[in-house]
């Protein structure tokens, strides 16, 4: 039977067919859908953990017991998980273990573009690099088999394009893999010296055995064209983009990009006059070949950043003299007004950032929907780095300011998902060396979901949504560790929220404000819409500056001046615009 699946769905299917038992993840684009799909399969335990490190550890525990296990995360999530990863990888793998890393060339939805093949090699793992949904499924099964056979953790490194792309996949039945159980063996599983000494040699031998296996492995495919003096070495989607050109050149497609068979590459380099490597982001395969002493060309001709499309490949091959006539000219993008993402109608973040913008304070942001406060309409966050970074960064900036005699406040913003992900240690750390001159305000946007990635549950969402099973009370938690100045406010009460934030920024010490309105999108919140009374509207545009999708200036018949207008189909009735209107021109419809 065949089915159309996304790359993410195909990975989940591969894990299911391979008899996978335990899977864990933390939601992050482009890999969110893997775990969401796994949750629907019977016989698999699947969880979104509080962060990627915990997710990896959950998968490790299952693998140690002999179960086939998988952890999936976006590329930057692997940074969080890299501490357990770098040590676990020294152990001899029991149950097949695969780490899926979703890389994002071109940064469609990420804060950086790191190439995690580097991390895979650093961690002594074999790395598969799928280019289609069918490969995504097949490679998970290969990876789990090889993981057990070579006692090595394996990585599936997949790009966002392949995660979200759909393709036809052949489905197979699930094979059962009953775990053999955990066999106590301290030398194998307790990574302390002197056991770690041996582990270094074990890892090296393991990779060399895998390298030998790669020589004839079924997933590394050589397509030779009679008479071609050029060999293109490529992998993943680049293979398919290249195939679009239908060129008379030989291709060596690597299903597994690490380790690469030295024996095979040296044989090929004797047969071909010219070897070209096509890969996105870093020159990973290229460097591997060069380390083997295989002469090749690659990044000299291809971009080190962004995606590489068929027309880019053709253009580079033309410069190299491989292609004479080009089929595709790179089309010039249409120059037209941009459409940056914006907070949804009724988004509970809107009033908070409107207030912060008007207070003109320095705001240290974090990762979530509220990262969009950085964008033009508000420009109300001034630092945005990585998950949970706002706590430490705020404290450090505050300490430097005090030592420099700078008395201004610092405001930190973090969402509930990020609070539990990696914000909590930062909160505990605030308690250390509190100075009376400190002035830090922490706003926790508790919208009861991990919204940006599609509304997953998190550790406090059960307090709002009874279908969720975790009910941690953030205020009680902070109080219990000794952070006393914690206020909960309803941010749809604009004035009260403004006063609370203003007062907090004037108070010395640590102030915490928790905003309590839930995500309007996730919970489909809809109240009677608001409308503009054009007789009262003074065209001041205060409401338009809230940058709410249904609010704009409009030419009304019989009125010269533009007046504000609210599209009743899209307004969800949060009332924030009516509260900010200086003349009371915005009214509730019912």
């Amino acid at each position: 039977m065949k089915k159309v699946l996304t790359g993410n769905q195909a990975i989940a299917r591969g894990f299911y067919e391979a008899g996978g038992l335990v899977a864990a993840s933390y939601p992050g684009s482009p890999t969110v859908e893997i775990l969401e799909t796994l949750k629907k399969y019977d016989g698999i335990y699947a969880e979104f953990s509080t962060n990627e490190k915990v997710a990896l550890e959950v998968a490790i525990g299952a693998s140690l017991y002999g179960a086939r296990a998988m952890a999936s995360m976006k590329h930057v999530g692997v940074n969080i998980a890299s501490d357990p990863l770098m040590t676990f990888t020294q152990t001899a793998i029991n149950g097949g273990f695969v780490l899926v890393s979703g890389d994002d060339p071109g940064m469609a939805s990420s804060q950086n573009e790191q190439d995690n093949r580097i991390i895979g090699k650093f961690a002594n793992m074999g790395i598969f690099y799928p280019g289609s949904s069918q490969e995504a499924k097949d490679y998970v099964k290969y990876a789990l088999d090889l993981s057990e056979r070579f006692q090595t953790p394996m990585m599936i490194d997949i790009t966002s394009r392949v995660c979200h792309s759909r393709g036809v996949v052949k489905l197979e039945d699930r094979e059962e893999h009953k775990p053999q159980g955990f066999k106590r063996d301290q030398e194998k599983y307790c990574m302390l010296p002197p056991y770690t000494f041996k582990a270094q040699h074990f890892m090296r031998e393991r990779i060399e055995k895998l390298r030998e296996y790669a020589y004839n492995a079924p997933f590394n495919i050589l397509e030779e064209v009679e008479g071609s003096d050029t060999l293109i070495v490529t992998s993943g989607l680049m293979y398919y983009n290249l195939k679009e050109l239908n060129l008379p050149v030989s291709i060596y497609k690597l299903g597994m990009v690490y380790p690469i068979s030295i024996r095979r590459m040296r044989e090929l380099s004797e047969r071909y006059r010219r070897i070209i490597v096509i890969e996105e982001m870093m020159p990973f395969i290229e460097n591997e070949l060069k380390l083997m002493g295989v002469d090749c060309k690659g990044k000299e001709y291809f971009s080190f950043t962004g995606e590489i499309h068929t027309e880019d490949i053709e253009e580079a091959l033309c410069r190299m003299g491989v292609v004479n006539n080009r089929k595709y000219e790179k089309a010039k993008a249409v120059e037209v007004v941009s459409r940056p993402p914006m907070f949804c109608a009724g988004c509970p973040h809107r009033p908070v950032f409107d207030i912060l913008k008007k207070l003109n304070v320095t705001v240290i942001g974090d990762i979530g929907c509220y990262s969009m406060a950085v964008l033009p309409a508000f420009k109300a966050a001034h630092v945005s780095l990585s998950m949970g970074a706002t706590l430490g960064v705020t404290k450090g900036m505050n300490k430097a300011m005090r030592l420099n005699g700078d008395k201004k406040p610092v405001v930190s913003v973090i969402g509930d998902g990020t609070f539990f992900h990696s914000g909590l240690p930062g909160f505990v750390n605030l308690l250390h060396q509190i100075d009376e001159e400190d002035n830090m305000t922490f706003i926790i946007l508790d919208n009861r979901t991990t919204a940006m990635t599609g509304g997953q549950q998190n550790a406090s969402s059960g307090r709002y949504n009874e279908n969720d099973d975790m009910r941690v009370h953030i205020k009680a938690l902070l109080n219990s560790i000794g952070i006393d100045n914690v206020k909960e406010v309803d941010q749809f009460n604009y004035k009260e929220t403004r006063e609370a934030i203003r007062q907090a920024t004037r108070e010395k010490g640590i102030s915490v404000i928790i905003t309590t309105r839930p995500c309007a999108l996730k919970y489909r919140i809809r109240e009677p819409h608001f409308y503009v009374d054009t007789d009262l509207c003074i065209s001041c545009r205060t409401c338009v500056k809230l940058n709410c999708p249904p609010i704009r200036m409009k030419k009304y018949e019989g009125i010269d001046e533009l007046k504000s207008y609210i599209d009743p189909d899209d307004c969800v009735g949060c009332s924030v615009c009516s509260q900010t209107c200086p003349v009371g021109a915005i009214k509730r419809s019912e």
Binding site: V4, S109, R166, G167, E311, A333, V334, M342
Partner: protein, 188 residues
């Protein structure tokens, strides 16, 4: 034979579902199929776009520049934005319902009404108020089914396949409205 379909719209308009429905229909009609959709940060009211390619053997999900046969524009500006991917004379189907982007809402830039009108000089432009048609079909949310119906007229996939795929991919309470909406587009 390869058919290249580009989809463009605004985050939240249901572009991912539309992509899924087209790919599923093409697959059931016996074709190889690959799709793209770019989601993530762009989903909150930002620009979103996707592609469906079907035919006997499809390598890449990406449509090379100038190779698009059909553009399904769920919003006029977003349709205009992706026209550089289209062949001259391609079908450009546009839902008339305008969604202003932030720079237009803030009155910093103009909405490109004229440029959108002039698309008809180069392409086969079909414009429809899909939201009104959907309202008449009984569900304002079935606008994309109207668009799919309009597009289906120009594709080699039977209507009973479209019907079957719609039935399986929209919420059960909305099935009838979506099928009525599909035919409102198809018979336009």
């Amino acid at each position: 034979m390869v058919r290249n379909i580009v989809l463009a719209g605004v985050g939240g308009q249901g572009l991912v579902l539309a992509t899924r429905i087209i790919s599923e229909a093409a697959f059931r009609a016996g074709y190889d199929v690959k799709t793209n959709d770019v989601i993530g940060l762009s989903q909150r009211g930002g620009r979103v776009w996707g592609s469906v390619r079907y035919g006997n053997n499809i390598y890449s999900p990406n449509i090379p520049p100038g190779q698009g046969d059909m553009l399904l524009g769920l919003e006029p500006l977003e349709a205009y934005r992706w026209t550089h991917l289209m062949k001259e004379g391609a079908y450009v189907i546009i839902n008339e319902k305008v969604v202003y982007p932030t720079p237009v809402l803030l009155e910093e830039e103009e909405y490109p009404y004229e440029e959108i009108d002039s698309l008809r000089d180069k392409f086969n432009v079909i414009r429809i108020n899909a939201r009104d048609e959907a309202k008449m079909a009984g569900n304002i949310k079935a606008a994309n089914a109207v668009m799919l119906g309009l597009m289906a007229r120009y594709l080699e996939i039977d209507t009973d396949i479209w019907e079957e795929v719609l039935r399986e991919n929209v919420p059960s309470k909305d099935v009838e409205a979506n099928i009525t909406a599909f035919y409102r587009g198809y018979n336009k």
